[in-house]
Symmetry: C2
Subunit: 349 residues, 2 copies
DNA sequence: CGAAATTATTTGATCGATCAAACTTTTCTT
DNA sequence: AAGAAAAGTTTGATCGATCAAATAATTTCG
């Protein structure tokens, strides 16, 4: 009755010592088979569950990773992070890891939180999202020897190969390249691109994917290519405006690619000719209104993040400095093609 | 050098005992002022942080609440839960509580997770979302004496006043009622409603809010009122279809209210006359495209959830059985009015 | 003023698990 | 078959904090 059973209770029931019970759970290999079975039976019988905090205290390991929950940024694209969070939680669970949330109002505040969670032994490491050039957070974590992996490559000049910085990212170039090729194979020649102002790490990558594919094909002049590109900040109404500009100034348009689903949604609205529009992020909104979109494959990202993080936990960080294992993962996104059908534009006939 | 400072280190530095240090942190009132200051100085000096797991082991309290991260359901409306999660994390933080995530594939699986997290002393209680009639989860939690609060009232017949079931919900009736009144005051008389099929706890509530306001005003006949209502499942294309149906069959329409932003987005697309459309949930999509919407006030919900949960932690559950404190909170949502301006429907002039 | 009451602080035990090292049993060598 | 090596199991100590009870310091009051 008195609370939950402990290792001692299990040991008593199975007729072995505490440590053997512990071994059955943590290094089953070193326990003789028949003993192990007896202990496992007792565990089941008593409904024993290890006390997570006690274990953490002793092992100095929390089996928990911390992640900051961003304030929903622009709204539509923010859902990528939600899906990532979900995938991360799910896969972490399968590895026996927990995901602890926290919030922060600024990078500096986030560093304070890092310190708090780390000092309190609440987490073993962190997952960072939305990194930016000269990010103070990664530097601080490296300096303090705290494990972390970023979703998003480091954008600083020298940082890309910093061995202490593990990262996973999605290959935006490849995503836009594939999207462009797909349209070209579908017969489109004059493919427009609505993107973000440079410099923007991710934005420039994506643009280059479109640009390279267009140049590779080579059936649009450089002048025309310039006319097929619109630069604008992110947002639905910006997408609408950009699309209107294109229709007036770019001549014939066979397809439109966008740097985000927000822009794509906007573009689609100002699009009575139903030119195929492709967005980026494959957000729920894209699915709902029937937009093609480049899917960031958050499952693979989450898997990569956990692989790197647990590899690190394995203790090889200070151990084998020249391990062959790569320090990052570049995930190839998937193009999701949808028909416009879902959204019957209601234009008076 | 050797790891982080402990209470003992602080005690040594301040020239007091471990326990006094502990008291300074947990019951500062019983420590003499000058002693307290000395200890606080030492804490600051050494950069001491209590070891969370050690404390949890001893106090048998984790200061952590568990919440299931739902798979993004319909996509657009799913973001309400994200915002709630964010608000919850932020406010929990201010109370010294942590938020731990988990996933589950079914209610049964979720119960398994409850057991795991509770037995392992990982969490002190749970927050449940998306409750439904006859929910097995709440019953199980009550039977096992585990603290929890639901976001969403219990929909079962007798459950509403079950004293063990603490809940916070948003008053959907009031939200739609206010939205209807706002349109009426703006001069609209024939206000249509696009809702979900009955029975649906939340859906029926919202519909009734519209209905009651319409009847109260009394300038639309019962027959007409019936024609102004469309029932459909949730989704953007369903919203579009419903709007088209209304335009053909409902006669003059001054405004349209919807049970969700998904429906509202769909309705708005099939709306060249620019009849005002109001959605529900105030999702980022609504903000992006300029839809009016009923905001669920997730901040208040989160505050209510934590109030109830920590009140419970305070230990009065088995203590004062007839406490005057209400066992639930009903939050009144806010109507957010937006102009259509953000989305210039691109109809050929 | 000195004993009782009150307040402040310290000491020893404990939460539940794992580590490190000691001990016992089994298996391998020659 | 005796001794060494390996495998399996047990014991005592420990992680860092708090609880409970004991002690010390201070205040109250007859």
């Amino acid at each position: 009755m008195g609370g939950f059973p402990t290792v001692t209770d299990v040991a008593l029931a199975a007729g072995v010592s505490r440590q053997t019970v512990s071994n059955v759970m943590n290094s089953p290999g070193i326990v003789r088979a028949d003993t192990r079975e007896r202990v496992e039976a007792a565990i089941k019988e008593l409904g024993y569950r290890p006390h997570a905090s006690a274990r953490r205290l002793r092992t100095r390991r929390s089996s928990t990773i911390g992640i900051r929950l961003d304030p929903t940024i622009d709204g539509i694209s923010g859902s990528v992070l939600d899906r990532f969070l979900h995938a991360l939680t799910e896969q972490a669970d399968a590895l026996g890891l927990r995901v602890l949330l926290f919030t922060a109002t600024s990078p500096e505040d986030e560093i304070t939180q890092f310190r708090r969670l780390n000092d309190g032994a609440d987490v073993d490491g962190f997952v960072l999202t939305s990194t930016f050039a000269g990010d103070p957070r990664t530097r601080w974590l490296i300096e303090n020897g705290i494990s972390f992996v970023t979703f998003g490559r480091p954008w600083g000049v020298d940082d890309l190969n910093e061995p202490q910085h593990l990262w996973v990212d999605v290959d935006g170039w490849s995503g836009l390249h594939e999207a462009t090729r797909a349209q070209q194979e579908g017969g489109a020649r004059r493919i427009a691109y609505i993107g973000w102002p440079s410099p923007s790490g991710t934005g420039d990558e994506r643009r280059r994917g479109w640009y390279d594919a267009m140049v590779l094909r080579g059936d649009v002049s450089a002048d025309d290519l310039a006319r097929l590109e619109v630069v604008t900040t992110d947002g639905v109404s910006q997408g609408t405006a950009a699309m209107q500009w294109l229709r007036q100034n770019a001549g014939q348009i066979d397809a439109v690619l966008c740097a985000s689903d927000s822009l794509a949604l906007g573009a689609m609205i100002a699009n009575p000719e139903r030119v195929p529009v492709t967005g980026y992020d494959n957000t729920p909104v894209a699915a709902a209104v029937g937009l093609s979109s480049v899917d960031q494959a958050v499952d693979e990202v989450a898997a990569g993040v956990l692989e790197l993080l647990t590899g690190e936990f394995g203790g090889q960080v200070h151990g084998a400095p020249e391990s062959e294992e790569p320090r990052h993962r570049l995930i190839t996104p998937r193009l999701v093609v949808r028909e416009f059908a879902a959204i019957p534009m209601d234009v008076p006939q």
